[in-house]
């Protein structure tokens, strides 16, 4: 065992611990404690997992004198083998910020003023009842997050759908994980991640589609880096218009024009099929729809696809050869596909590569349709997004009746006459005034949704009663009629599930500040004050705390793919991380789905009857039964369609937005952790060297970026992004800016510029297909852009000083394990 100290801002992935194909990933325990605190001074270590990304890294929270003082990775956990990422190591400090909300606020004479819980909740309840009397359940909407716990989502779903009976419940997971869920449902009949992180240990080819894993899931990327540093390394395929750390390690990097993923995928599949790199036995035994795919992609020879995507035809052939020669192929997909034009259709093509090559359900052969947020998976399972609880099918009356029986409510109460209303449609109904009560929990649409001027004005409407439940006075909370102070991670108990179906328990470590309450307590308090009842007159929901909520959820999950019936809080406290399904048949959980080539796709069990890949129209049950009588995997396909907004003379650039390694969402937490904030303190825009030259822009120059909808100002980072493309990180809003000047100084958020458009299948908004222009402003001053040098934003100039964290970023790494 060796112990090293690392600046994990400067070295986000930490020390290498190389390993070979099929070997166990070595343990490396990362820990960071507050300055001056030594391990022996820690009173308690409290079990939890990462809350600032979707990887689900298991960790323990250090508590001293009733306060959080640090974190340490859990060596025995299957997900991270002890490692933590920069956001985990430093982000916990935000809990203790002085500007946490500690009392409820209500709007009086235009101002938000502090009040007590009874007053605030009475206002919420009174308005709910008035609207239910006046208009009915269609007047009420709920917009939640990907950061609460399973118990909270399940409760919110029960209240919205089972008690109120509104169809208007969705999460901001619509922005991050809707396409993952849709693509899995379309291909396999039901949601559920097929692969496992352990597939990295075995794969000989790893393909990342629009997935900058190095920045979105740093610990998972460390696993890949360790394979690359070991014997028998995998070959990497990277599809991304940016020069990401993934692209730097790739055997092959394709940088398609934004909005053309479908043409690229059709071109690659054209070659795979033309060269007959197809596992026909698998296709015949386990799939339907192969002929349709072959017919469709016949129209996309590499030269044709190359013309559309701006990728050399030769590279498309090489990609097909790489994928076609893999013996153990792992594919991962994220926002470069999910937030782009034809999102679901393109993501489904990744599934199709695995289906036609028979690459599913065995070590190294898997698909990971990723999530962006830590608990996004649970919104899908619990039905706190546009899904029905327990991966049930809203258009299957028996599934609805089954859920109603679990809840002990009338099936007619649960809306299932049309697909659950998705987030962008909820906002549209609010804009038109037919949703008049909107309860937003733990998300910040006034910075994170597209076309912000529109979002701000619709949220600020007089006729909309807006409830915001959060930790801080966010840009959205400022528009609210009632603000409810919430407890967060480390201050409450509950479970959550990562991208590869691993369930962790997160125990309460410290008390929340002031009068802040857990989201579960707030939702249950609302239900009691509303006096919701089940069919027997008992209070509904029938549970009262995290563990009873979890036990209730288990009954709702029984017999469904996301079966939790074999999991208890005690079991989670005894081990560390269990993959569902976990039940009598699989008491230790399930590493990979579909190992036997059988799917949850027969018409009586599937979660969806499918949608048209172009129009998004739901397919009729009878059509589905005729198409897929034996419940096999479904190979769906579509032609390429050009994006709805393309660069033109006035707006010659394709604008894409995205994350950076050091921040999460709108920086409500990471902007309050000094090490993270210093690493990426301000917004920037990435420009290619040739575009910068043409525009007369140098590194660090102040520029204006404008789309048909809005304008921002930022410093230019000149990097190796694909020419013709601009990138702006979406994290930067206005809570920490000086509010003066024109337009209230609203010239920083990337979403001032983004287009209102979404994938018709998954309803995920498109953040990767806006057109924009760029012009230099005065006032460069030879200061480099405030962008990290460690990430995709690495400058071409060698004169920019390297991003580092300083002494307070020192992190201990114990390679080989053990705790100090």
């Amino acid at each position: 065992m060796s112990v090293v100290s690392k600046d994990r801002i400067a070295e986000p992935w930490g020390s290498r611990t190389p390993y070979g194909s099929g070997q166990e990933w070595p343990v490396r325990v990362d820990s960071h404690l507050a300055e001056g605190v030594t391990p022996d001074q820690v009173d308690r270590w409290v079990r939890s997992a990462s809350i600032l990304h979707s990887n689900g890294d298991a960790l323990d929270i250090a508590v001293k004198d009733g306060r959080m003082v640090g974190v340490r990775g859990r060596s025995q956990d299957r997900v991270n083998h002890g490692r933590l990422g920069p956001k985990d190591l430093y982000g916990w400090q935000a809990n203790d910020s002085r500007d946490r909300l500690t009392r409820p606020l209500v709007r009086r004479d235009g101002e938000l003023v502090e009040t007590d819980w009874d007053t605030a909740m009475d206002m919420v309840v009174r308005r709910s009842k008035e609207l239910l009397d006046e208009q009915g359940s269609s007047a009420l909407g709920f917009y939640t997050t990907g950061q609460l716990f399973l118990e909270e989502y399940y409760t919110l779903a029960a209240i919205s759908r089972g008690a109120i009976g509104t169809n208007h419940l969705d999460g901001n997971t619509r922005l991050c994980t809707a396409t993952a869920s849709a693509a899995l449902k379309e291909s396999f009949g039901c949601d559920g991640q097929p692969g496992s992180y352990t597939d990295i240990d075995h794969a000989d080819v790893i393909a990342l589609y629009g997935h900058n894993m190095a920045e979105t899931q740093t610990v998972l990327w460390a696993r890949v880096l360790d394979r690359l540093a070991g014997s028998d390394p995998p070959r990497i395929l990277c599809v991304d218009p940016r020069p990401t750390p993934v692209a730097r390690e790739a055997a092959l990097h394709l940088a398609p024009l934004p909005g053309t993923n479908m043409a690229l995928m059709n071109g690659i599949l054209h070659e795979i099929i033309r060269q007959d790199l197809v596992d026909h036995d698998y296709v015949d035994a386990h799939t339907v729809g192969y002929d349709g795919l072959a017919e469709m992609v016949a129209d996309y020879p590499p030269e044709h696809a190359a013309e559309i995507c701006g990728v050399p035809a030769e590279q498309i052939r090489e990609a097909a050869a790489l994928l076609g020669s893999a013996e153990r192929l792992l594919s991962t997909v994220l926002q470069g596909f999910y937030q782009s034009h034809q999102a679901t259709a393109a993501s489904v093509q990744v599934n199709n590569i695995h289906l036609v090559r028979g690459m599913l359900g065995r070590p190294g052969a898997g698909v990971l349709q990723m999530n962006g947020q830590p608990t996004a998976e649970n919104t899908r399972e619990c039905g706190a997004d546009g899904d029905l609880t327990g991966f049930r099918n809203w258009s299957n009356d028996e599934h609805v009746a089954d859920l109603a029986a679990v809840w002990n409510v009338d099936p007619m109460r649960i809306p299932h006459y049309s697909p659950p209303t998705h987030a962008m449609q909820i906002m549209r109904y609010a804009e038109k005034g037919s949703i008049r009560f909107l309860w937003i929990s733990a998300t910040n649409p006034a910075v994170s949704l597209p076309e912000l001027e529109r979002i701000r004005s619709l949220l600020a409407q007089e006729g909309l009663f807006l409830v915001v439940q959060d930790l801080f006075m966010t840009e959205t909370a400022e528009l609210a009629d009632v603000v409810l102070p919430a407890a967060t991670w480390g201050e409450k108990t509950g479970t959550f599930t990562n991208t590869d179906r691993t369930v962790h328990l997160s125990d309460k470590a410290v008390d929340p500040p002031g009068e802040a309450r857990s989201d579960l307590d707030i939702f249950l308090d609302y239900a009691r004050r509303m006096d919701f009842r089940d069919k027997d007159g008992a209070p509904f929901p029938q549970w009262h705390d995290p563990e009873s909520a979890f036990e209730a959820w288990k009954r709702a999950s029984a017999g469904r793919p996301c079966d939790y019936t074999g999991i208890t809080y005690d079991k989670l406290r005894g081990g560390s991380g269990v993959q569902w399904p976990c039940n009598d048949d699989n008491p230790d959980g399930t590493e990979r789905l579909y190992a036997d080539g059988r799917f949850w796709a027969s018409s009586d069990v599937c979660e969806t009857y499918g949608r048209d890949m172009v129009t998004g129209a739901p397919q009729e049950p009878s059509d589905y039964k005729a198409m897929n009588p034996d419940g096999k995997a479904i190979i769906r396909t579509a032609e390429y369609l050009p994006p709805h907004e393309e660069p033109n003379e006035e707006h010659p650039f394709a604008l894409i937005t995205g994350r950076t390694l050091y921040h999460f969402h709108t920086r409500t937490k990471t902007g309050r952790a000094p090490q993270l904030q210093r690493a990426a303190p301000e917004v920037w825009v990435e420009v290619s060297p040739s575009d910068a030259r043409e525009a007369g822009v140098s590194e660090g120059d102040l520029v204006e970026v404008a789309s048909p909808r809005g304008t921002i100002r930022a410093r230019a980072r000149i990097n190796d992004i694909r020419p013709g493309v601009l990138f702006v990180p979406f994290h930067y809003g206005y809570w920490d800016t000086v509010k003066d000047g024109e337009a209230g100084g609203r010239d920083r958020a990337a979403n001032e510029m983004t287009v209102t458009d979404w994938d018709p299948v998954s309803k995920q908004p498109l953040f990767k297909t806006s057109a924009a222009r760029l012009r230099p402003l005065d006032g460069g001053g030879h200061v480099p852009a405030p962008a990290p040098t460690t990430t995709a934003s690495r400058p071409v100039s060698t004169e920019v000083s390297e991003t580092h964290g300083g002494p307070d970023a020192a992190t201990e790494e114990r390679i080989g394990g053990g705790v100090s």
Binding site: G136, A139, P419, S434, D612, T615, H644, P760
Partner: protein, 157 residues
């Protein structure tokens, strides 16, 4: 032989459908999904119109020269949802209902042309109908699906 009449009819109905989809995209520009999908679907119809014009040439028709007047969109029967309302919500319902009927008409016309193509053993024309007809059905299904999605909120508020 009257197959040119079927071609002529379909050319007209498909052209009208393309125009109607573009009109809807414009009319309901704030209903973002209606707008974007309408434009994608208009692309299909315009493609069909071009292919029909090319097929028409083989039957001595000069459809591309647009001496054919596209029929006016179907007159609405009188009623509360007739579409002459100034309420944009009711107008949306009326437009989706009309779109469904127009797409159904186009679908029927493809059926008709397909029958003609078979009886004269015109394999090229038959292939065209097989390629295009499913899209009319998808356009129709979309209008129905959109109607089902937006109507509950409109009818309840």
């Amino acid at each position: 032989m009257k197959i040119h009449l079927a071609l002529h009819e379909l050319y007209g109905s498909e052209s009208a459908l393309a125009d109607e989809l573009l009109r809807m995209a414009d009319q309901h520009a704030d209903e973002h999904e209606v707008r974007h999908v309408s434009m994608d679907l208009a692309r299909w119809s315009r493609e069909h119109v071009r292919e029909l014009a090319a097929a028409g040439e083989r039957y001595g028709l000069n459809l591309g020269d647009s001496e054919v007047d596209a029929p006016e969109p179907l007159p609405e029967e009188a009623g509360a949802l007739s579409g002459d309302s100034s309420d944009p919500e009711l107008l949306l319902l009326a437009d989706l209902r009309r779109l469904h009927r127009m797409a159904a008409g186009v679908s029927l016309d493809w059926d008709l042309l397909g029958q003609g193509a078979q009886v004269v053993a015109d394999t090229e024309l038959l292939a065209l109908t097989k390629r295009c007809h499913p899209r009319s059905l998808r356009q129709m299904t979309w209008a129905d699906a959109m109607l089902k999605t937006v109507s509950p909120q409109i009818l309840s508020s």
